[in-house]
Structure formats: C-alpha cells, structure tokens
C-alpha cells in the first residue's frame, strides 16, 4: 500500500510489516464514544452495503473497522472515508453486532484532526474547524458566512458556480449575512473552557 519509488511508477509494495502497524490504535478508538463493541465485528459488510456513500469511499466502512482492528492507522486516518461519512446512522442501525460505526467514524475524525492527517484539499475538516470557531465565538452558526469561508479557503471556483443559486436564495430571504449571536457569550465560553480543562 505504501508507495515505493521504483523506476516503474506503477509497481507498488502490497505487504505490511508488523512494525508499520499501530497495535494500540484499536484501544484508542475503542475507548472513544460507544466504541466498546468494535472487537466483535464479523466482517459481514452490512455497514458498507447499507451506507449511501460507501461507493465513493476509498475504504468501505467494513474495511475501516478491519483496518482499525489490525492497526492500519496511517491508511485509516488518511482515508477519505471518514470525511465522506454523512452521519446518517444507517450502518449503526443495521450492524448485526451493534457496533456504533457512526461513532467510530467520529472518533476517527477527531483522531485525524489531532494527528493533523486530514487528506489534502478536503474541505470537510476545514468546515468543521470553521464551524467550531464560529460557534465558540458567537454561540450560533451562520450558514452563509460558514460556506463563504469554506469556499474561499478551498475552492473559490465553487463559489462562482453556486453564485446564482445564492442570489436567488438571498432574495427569498433564506440567506442572512448578519451575525446573530447569543446574549451570554461569556458564559458559553466559560463552559467550553471548563470542559477543555477537564479533558486535559
């Protein structure tokens, strides 16, 4: 899976040595929210088959679970799968072993952000981050500004492509450009700070 630079670029090494794996990965992810059941996955693939997006993923949810178990940390954290997951909970409801796959995906997203290993040019972690800041500052999100920032940061072209729709929405009163924060911003920040502190 790791590329090697050979004279023929198409040749790849498809072997994994134990030293390249992270055997503690499963524990970390398992410890995160709801992940306890992970070990009982029977690789049945129901999650992948149910997932409305799996056919765009570089590894299906089932494979992600197998790779987490086996310690393929790098591949997992760099996969687009975890960012494509739309949190529809379809897999979670369908898994015969009651594995909370959606929550595993969340745990993996968090781990990826922590490790700084988000796939390049993938706007989702950025969106999440922006969102995070906006809420921290104002207590609420402003969809318009959020999207604007994300487009500007990732793919300004997209902004142009969607401009017509945006204008129509604006005239229908469905876009608001003004910040619409909460009153007790301080108390919210205090809460988040305390939680931060508690966590560390």
């Amino acid at each position: 899976m790791t590329k090697i630079t050979a004279s023929d670029k198409k040749v790849r090494r498809y072997i994994k040595y134990e030293s390249e794996l992270d055997q503690t990965f499963i524990d970390k992810i398992g410890d995160a929210a709801y992940g306890e059941q992970l070990l009982s996955c029977i690789q049945c693939g129901t999650c992948s088959a149910t997932c409305p997006i799996s056919h765009y993923m570089d590894y299906t949810p089932r494979r992600i679970i197998a790779m987490v178990r086996a310690g393929f940390k790098e591949e997992v954290l760099n996969s687009n799968t975890i960012w494509l997951c739309a949190s529809c909970y379809g897999c979670t409801v369908d898994c015969p072993r009651e594995i909370k796959i959606t929550d595993v995906m969340y745990a993996l997203k968090r781990e990826a952000i922590l490790e700084g290993s988000n796939p390049r040019g993938f706007p989702i972690p950025i969106l999440a981050n922006k969102f995070f800041r906006q809420v921290r500052r104002h207590g609420r999100q402003n969809e318009t500004r959020l999207l604007l920032t994300v487009y500007l940061l990732t793919n300004p072209l997209n902004l142009l492509k969607n401009a017509r729709m945006a204008m129509r929405l604006y005239f229908k009163g469905r876009l608001s450009l003004f910040e619409n924060g909460i009153k007790q911003k301080k108390s919210l920040r205090k809460l988040l700070k305390t939680l931060d502190r508690n966590q560390n």
Binding site: G90, V150, D196
Partner: protein, 292 residues
Amino acid sequence: MKYLYYPGCSLKSSGRAYEESLLAVFDALDIQLEEIDDWNCCGATSYMGVDEIKAFGLAARNIGLANRQKKTQDDEETHIIAPCSACYLVLLKTQKYLATHTDVRNSIQGGLSEIDLDLNSNIKIRHPLDVLVNDIGYQKIAERVQKPLKNVKVASYYGCQIIRPYQEFDKEYYPMTMDHLVTKLGGEAVDWPLKTRCCGGTLMGTMQDVGLQINYRLLKEAHRRNADVMITTCPLCQFNLECYQDKIMKSHNDSVEMPVIYFTQLMGMAFGLSDISLGLNRLLTPVSDIFQ
C-alpha cells in the same frame, strides 16, 4: 401542556420557512410554543467530529437552559421541540449518552455548574412530527383540515437522522407517521423505498458531485412513483433537494423537477392557512399550482 421550542441555527436562516410554517400550524392547533431563551447552536454533526466533549457540552447547555426555564415556570414534565433533524438527534443523543456514561456526565455537569446550569431533570426531546401525531393526535389534525389534499400524491421523506438510531416514536426501517398524516390531510401517501435514505447532509457543500448524485437518486425514485410533491422534516434535506434541483437535473441530464416542502407547510396548506404565513413564498420551486 407547554412545549419549549428549540429552533436551531438553520430555522433562523435557510430554513426560515420551516419555522414560519411550524409556528403557524401549531398556532392553528392552539399549541403554545415558548422559545428557549438564549439557546445556542446544538453542536451538530460536524462538531462531533472535532471535539466530542464540547459537542455534548453545547447540547447540554441548551438542555440546562430549558431546565432553568422549566423550573421558573413550575412545569412538571417539559418537552423540547427540536424541528431540525440534526438538532433533534444531537440533543437526544447527548441525553442518552450522558445517562449511561457517568464520567462524561460528571464532567459536563461540572462545566454547567460553573455557569449556574443544571442537567438533572426529566426533560424530553421531541420532534414536532412526534408531538403532532402522538400528543395532538391524527384525529384532531384531521378535524382542522379545511382544504383536503384531494388527489395529491405525496412522497414522505423522513431522511436519516430523525428516524435512527435514538428515537422511539416510529419504526426505524419503515416509518409511517408522516404517511398516515398525509392521508389524514386528504392526500395520497406514496409508498417508496427511499424514505429514510440519507440526503448526504453537508456533502452537498463539501463534495458536490457526491451530493448531487445522492439527491438525484431520491428525486428520481419519487418521480418514478408519480409523486406530486415531496415533504421533509429537516431544513438540510429540504435545502439539498430543492435548492440544488437545477444543478441535479443539469448534471444528470434528466428532468426530475419536483416541489420539496416541509411537512408543516403541507399541513398548513390543508388547514387553509395563507401562503405567506407558511413561507411558501420562499420556495425556489413553487408548489401552489398543484393543489387544485
């Protein structure tokens, strides 16, 4: 019974029509809604992926606020109505998670105490659909209908997040509450297999190709089943399915045009409420002409 109302960010912007129609319908049924004072963002989906504890914290603050508001009013059992699917799920999930994970609950409660809020109380998180059919009842809704939706074929689209995995008011595989509601309004419920299939959520914004394809599938199937209109329970689903329709049709070179409205808008129409009060004017694909 009094309900506290948690609108969430979307209902104040892109989903404004949802709020307008919701309030109009509840008003028409004589149910008081009281907005939670100074609510904050629910900490939705994307937040969970960044920082779980804080996501729970954000949701918990809203529950704490509701708790405070409840206490000052002396209500016994308080229900929070959360119309947006994402908000509904996050609030419900937070409540259920904290109930079983004491360590996290203690930590969150610790944070809340610092700002004089308190989690402990029997607050219930409800979706308006649940409240309408279970508390108010089909009977009362049917009685309020003034303009039955004769010959209108409606595809009920529940989306994913209100139906699984935490709710308890409907079946997770074949939910039927909205379909029954449609018949009570005089319309015809279309049986279609995609009613709980995901709309892709924020993928439309972040990975548009994927989003367009997913939503195309939904519109296409509703078309194939001869639906006249699709109703949703979530501002994001509505946004994806309606506002991107042009693009969907262009990218798939297929005419799958279809009005997509909130179920509350449909109810309001059957109740004979005005277009403006239901926010119908905000639609990009107009709907009124199909109701003769």
